[in-house]
Amino acid sequence: MKALRYLIPLAIFAMLVVFLWRGLSLNPREIPSPLIDKPTPGFALPVLGSEQTFRPEELKGQVWLLNVWASWCVSCRQEHPVLVAIGKERVLPVVGLNYKEVRGDGELDPSKIDAATEKALARERASKWLTRHGDPYLLSVLDLDGRVGVDLGVYGVPETFLIDREGRIRYKHIGPLTKEVWSTVFLPQVKKLSP
């Protein structure tokens, strides 16, 4: 019995190895979304730079990307060149969802800004940002109060959704897109979805 206690460290270690082994095949950055394979939540939001509104149904029949961004989001700037490259190659339409442009910015105090000013300010800031960094989007919509973001289960900005021809969300990427993620994760799925 006494000799057994010297086996305890080995036993604990063996358990640890099993977990580490399992861990190798898991991706800690991948957060499952309950929305995967579900229809995109419906919305109608104003389009940046025009008086129109946009509904996801308008892109039915196409495979497209929905990219959540904001000008205050630092990681968005990091992923932006990748999006610009995608836009240039015309792989598929990319729609931008500008998320809480004014309210999300920690530097501004939303309680001091009225609705009309917020709208104008958001339009101004978002357009300026796109002029400066390049505009890869077919169009961008403004989600000022972040309600659509909630429907989409946005954890943090940026996030990118892949939506199929029936309007269902097929994949969701959290955090900045990289060339690697684009070519290894998105592109194969895009090819599968668009015969």
């Binding site: 080995l10 861990g23 190798l24």
Partner: protein, 661 residues
């Protein structure tokens, strides 16, 4: 051509490591002196070969050889020379090469400074280290060859991660790895002792200086990493309980327990099997740290190089090395015996208490670090464990450790009495309580948190000083100087090390309680005041570095009518990666840091600015430096050298008088 030579040197080093692992071990089992004496030349040869490979890699970086994949992906011709050299270990492949270089350095050092050890011991120790070297060389050659060619060559390199383009990053990894790898010596000594059946006070004396040296490097390495995070990440924090930080902290906790446990084994012959186990654990955690950082099983703010494919190899390696050594431990430890007995109140008992608490704290950190992985692996969801968990668990475990730290050096070996301890320490306790009550009040705001932190720090200082006084005021040789000289260096080392912990705690407590942080938007001409200071943003200019553009703010800091500092925080945009980097501007002083970092531009002229006033923050790292110095001092204790000389002269009868520590 030179990269191929480097590659070839690595292959030769692998073959030599095989020789070093197999023949001396076999020789030791058979009592064959010829085979055993292969160990030393093999160790020296490994150092030469691996150092050549390392130089070849450094040369490829220095000469901008973009036909080498590793250089093309981690360097750039515009990168200044010092960072091109540091980029040698900025990548996954390069850091492994550095790891292996240090391992061969430690092997050569063991070969060189082990003249007084029995040949069989040296043979076994170097053989075990050779096995570790095999693992790392194979890992490099099979999955991560640093000399892999990129043909045709890239016209320009992709540049080093801007976060790593910093003097702190030049020194942080080598220091840290010296510590990690240094524990391989203690590990090898432990396994050699288990294999040879010789686990006694002599064994502890042999492995003690090596262990302490590794611990010093690790302490300095962790501190450097913390300093780097403090000024480079621009958040003003110094410790984030991030998985990568924990990966370096866990071996440190195990190492701290180990050096104390070794002291008991050397002095009293007790704790033997426990000491061996700690030696195995300390090195195992160093390997586990490498696995966690390199495999990508955990997310981290600074997982710079992750690759699951390589993870499989390291995990297999871990399983063999750690599993093998724990199996050996399980089969042999029972025969080791427990050593000298001791009373419930004695220095042994106090050190045992400290050891157990350190290991429990270690287990808590390990659990917190791996918990997200456990939950994910069991299919229970995704979550992350943040600083609140670690703080809630770690501080209460550390408080008794610190309390015992003050008590331990006071207690006598074998048997002490509680009453006597109380008499010896009651004055110190009184001083500590008084200080903890008064100092926070003098600082302006009293809170239980800062008072309890200071109580512990003052307790350590007071007991150390009272111990010092006891030794110097009374004792055998007459005269203060005589007694001063008589104290062994290892005793001074311990005092200094403990003092370092106290300084560290003071820093942590005061920063946590009294730091002031302000996040605001500022345009040139704006002024804001924090505490006694007024911060005025004078202007913002565009700047240009060798491989980046930047915006540099000029911030004047006034205290009333006196200009205290002009700070120049910088926001850099690196040409190759386009990654924005924050270079905080800090005016350091002993009693406070003024810290300013630029956030993002807001509108046309204004910027988000983050300002911190951090009282006593430098004490945190100062404490670490003092701890490491204490360790160094202990290594130079005469008795380690005396033994060496005595053994060399084959004068087995002269045994140094037992030191009192």
């Amino acid at each position: 051509m030179i990269p191929e030579l480097g590659h070839f040197a690595l292959i030769l080093a692998l073959l030599l490591a095989l020789v070093q692992a197999v023949f001396p071990m076999y020789g030791a089992a058979r009592g064959d002196a010829t085979l055993m004496s292969l160990a030393r030349p093999a160790a020296y040869g490994s150092l030469v070969l691996i150092a050549s490979a390392f130089l070849a890699q450094a040369y490829a970086f220095a000469s901008n050889d973009f036909s080498v994949l590793n250089v093309a992906s981690h360097s750039n011709s515009k990168l200044p020379l010092e960072y091109r050299l540091a980029a040698t270990w900025g990548s996954h492949e390069g850091s492994l090469l550095l790891w292996t270089l240090m391992l061969s350095g430690w092997m050569a050092a063991v070969a060189r400074f082990s003249r007084h050890l029995p040949l069989a011991m040296v043979a076994r120790v170097l053989s075990v280290m050779g096995m570790v070297a095999i693992g790392f060389l194979l890992f490099m050659l099979v999955t991560s060859n640093p000399f892999e060619r990129l043909l045709p060559a890239a016209p320009e390199g992709r540049d080093l991660n801007p976060l790593l383009q910093d003097p702190g990053m030049v020194f942080h990894p080598p220091m840290l790895y010296m510590g990690y790898v240094g524990f391989s010596v203690a590990f090898a000594f432990a396994l050699a002792a288990l294999l040879g059946g010789r686990l006694d006070a002599t064994w502890a004396r042999w492995s003690r200086p090596w262990t302490t040296l590794a611990w010093c490097f690790l302490t300095a390495g962790i501190a450097l990493g913390s300093v780097w995070a403090y000024y480079e990440l621009g958040w003003g924090g110094w410790w984030f309980w991030d998985p990568v930080e924990n990966a370096s902290f866990m071996p440190w906790l195990a190492g701290t327990a180990l050096i104390h446990s070794l002291a008991v084994t050397e002095k009293r012959g007790a704790f033997r099997s426990w000491t061996v186990l700690l030696a195995i654990i300390a090195f195992s955690l160093s390997l586990l740290g490498t696995f966690l950082v390199r495999s990508g099983v955990l997310t981290s703010v600074h997982a710079f190089a992750t690759d699951p494919a390589r993870g499989v190899f390291i995990l297999a390696f871990l399983a063999v090395v750690i599993g093998g050594s724990l199996a050996l431990y399980a089969s042999r430890a029972g025969a080791v015996g427990l050593g000298g007995s001791f009373a419930p109140v004695s220095r042994e008992a106090l050190l045992l208490g400290n050891n157990v608490l350190l290991v429990v704290a270690l287990a808590a950190v390990l659990l917190g670090t791996l918990y997200p992985l456990f939950i994910d692996a069991l299919g229970l969801g995704k979550l992350s464990v943040g600083p609140p968990y670690f703080e809630a668990v770690f501080y209460p475990l550390m408080a008794p450790v610190i309390f015992l730290m003050g008590l331990g050096p006071m207690a006598r070996w074998k048997q002490s009495s509680a009453l006597e301890l109380w008499r010896q320490t009651r004055l110190s306790l009184g001083v500590a309580v008084f200080g903890a009550m008064v100092v926070p009040w003098l600082m302006g705001r009293w809170s239980p948190l800062v008072a309890s932190g200071l109580l512990l720090a003052f307790w350590v200082i007071a007991t150390s000083l009272s111990g010092l006084f006891d030794r110097l005021a009374r004792g055998a040789p007459s005269g203060f100087l005589g007694r001063l000289k008589q104290q062994p260096l290892s005793w001074w080392g311990m005092q200094l090390g403990h003092m370092g912990v106290a300084v560290f705690i003071i820093g942590v407590a005061l920063v946590k309680a009294y730091e002031v942080e302000k996040d605001l938007r500022m345009a040139p001409g704006d002024t804001t005041s924090i505490g006694a200071y007024q911060f005025r943003l004078v202007d913002l200019r565009e700047g240009r570095g060798p491989n980046f553009k930047s915006v540099i703010g000029r911030m004047e800091v006034w205290e009333g009518e006196r200009l205290q500092a002009v700070l120049r925080p910088e926001k850099r945009n690196y040409d190759s990666s386009g990654m924005p980097m924050t270079e905080a501007a800090i005016q350091r002083s002993l009693s406070r840091d003024l810290y300013v970092s630029l956030g993002d531009p807001i509108g046309e002229h204004a910027w988000g600015v983050r300002i911190y006033v951090k009282p006593f923050v430098n004490w945190i790292w100062g404490g670490c430096v003092i701890m490491a110095l204490g360790g160094l001092l202990a290594i130079f204790d005469r008795r380690y050298r005396l033994r060496a000389k005595a053994a060399n002269a084959a004068a087995t009868t002269t045994i140094a008088p037992e030191a009192r520590v």
